[in-house]
């Protein structure tokens, strides 16, 4: 099994969710993050004290899938989350050793 950790623009969350549910895939875990990369930051000023914030709001969508679904999910996320501008984000792919469904104790692919 594989985990896809997708860092996307917050405003693309709905589109990504829609794309995934089109694939019949509705398991995911979402969290709020901030990040930086090539995207430029913004200047903040508080009573004359200036700071550059280059950590911009992003959303992290974590999806654990069977290995054979990775490609189609990557494609779906990419096309739903893309604007073509810098800051569209990344998908990081990790190996998953096992999954357990807490409710039933099921393990492995059946538990996803």
């Amino acid at each position: 099994m594989t985990k896809l950790s997708c860092i996307i623009r917050p405003e693309k969350l709905e589109a990504v969710k829609a794309a995934l549910s089109k694939l019949g895939n509705c398991g995911m875990t979402v969290s709020q993050v901030v990040g930086c990369g090539s995207q430029r930051g913004w200047k903040e000023v508080y009573r004359g004290v200036e700071t550059t914030i280059n950590l911009l709001p992003k959303v992290k969508v974590e999806i654990v899938v069977k290995d054979d679904q990775v490609d189609q999910v990557v494609d779906a996320v990419c096309s739903a989350a893309r604007t073509g501008e810098i800051g569209d984000g990344k998908i990081f792919i990790y190996p998953v050793a096992n999954v357990i469904r807490i409710r039933t104790g099921e393990k492995g692919e059946g538990a996803i």
């Binding site: 405003e11 709905e14 901030v34 913004w42």
Partner: protein, 438 residues
Amino acid sequence: MKKLLRIGFLLPVFWLLVSNFAWAAGTPAIDTGDTSFVLVSAALVMLMTPGLAFFYGGMVRRKNVLSTIMQSFIIICIVSVQWVLFGYSLSFGPDKSHLLGALSWLGLKGVGLEPNPDYAATIPHLAYAAFQLMFAIITVALVTGSFAERMRFPAFLLFTVLWTTIIYDPLAHWVWGAGGWMRNLGVLDFAGGTVVHISSGVSGLITALVLGKRLGWGSEAMRPHDLPMTVLGASLLWFGWFGFNAGSALSANGLAASAFVVTNTSAAAAALSWIFTEWILQGKPTVLGAASGCVAGLVAITPASGYVGPLPAVIIGLFAGVICSLAVSYLKVRLGYDDALDAFGVHGIGGTWGALATGLFASKAINPAGGNGLFYGNPGQLWVQFVGVVATWLFAAVLTLVILKLVAVFTSLRATAEEETMGLDLPMHGERAYDHIL
């Protein structure tokens, strides 16, 4: 002995005599009760604009909350200075052809510590000017609800200065200024149904149309980011509205008490009818519905508040909740304009309903200085109200269009797509509302 008594007696009586003659001759005297009431009312109305900032601020997305709050807050500042410099004179100065006040009160020259009986015979003229200022402030602030989340700050500043000067000041003169044509015509508008709510709601609609929809409108969910903040705003609005409506009696008298009661009643009734409408049509009674409903009820009762009794207030409120709720949930979606926080849906529609309802329910039994409405045997009043409504719609719509075109000559109205996506707080003000990652 008797003589002494008589002299001791004559002295104070003489003083009384003089003071009574003075009084009899109509020289206005300040009444401390009325002055206390109007000054406190002015403070209450002032608080409504920060209230509105939170009402609106809670409804926008997190990334736009500061820019939304800032609009209301800076309006307080701009209009306060404009009013002192020339706004009050334009609105309430000596009448020019029933259309505008003359500029003779620039810098509040001649607006002094004594009453001006044209407006309020028992309070200092400055107290009246302060009270009216707060109305000018909130009116512009209401407009911002329509164009939230996409207007550039410099364009907004220019728009504010022009709007309050070109639209609000004349309108206030028409309806409340000594010599204003609507006042002469007999349009009843106790606390600002036309001047405040129709004008702001209609102008909001026009601005929303000119600016266009927010990016993602219709496809992305644009949820309120903090509903308790919206409830706080609605509560401060409700609280301040007592000053708005009851204070408009300009005296702490029976009429003020009556306006107080009908204001509260209509707000309550409208909140109930809004949530029941939702409950029936959409399945749940929402907190946002209750907050919006009370505002709709307050809007609708505003023009009527000095002319109707408690039971008509229940009716006005119940209808306001239903009408505005439908306007916001169906009309907007059907017609497809992006009135972001429903300034038009609540103030434009609600204000129109209220102005007409005044023509239905007004009664001289409540206020002999007012008039009777249709249901009290005077259909003419409804017609007069209708004229007032139409004139306000047209005036506000046309001039808002003109102002926007004018502003667009100097600076671009709308934020760039990048700014809008990022949220206006950072690009416009260099700040974020909350520090979610320290």
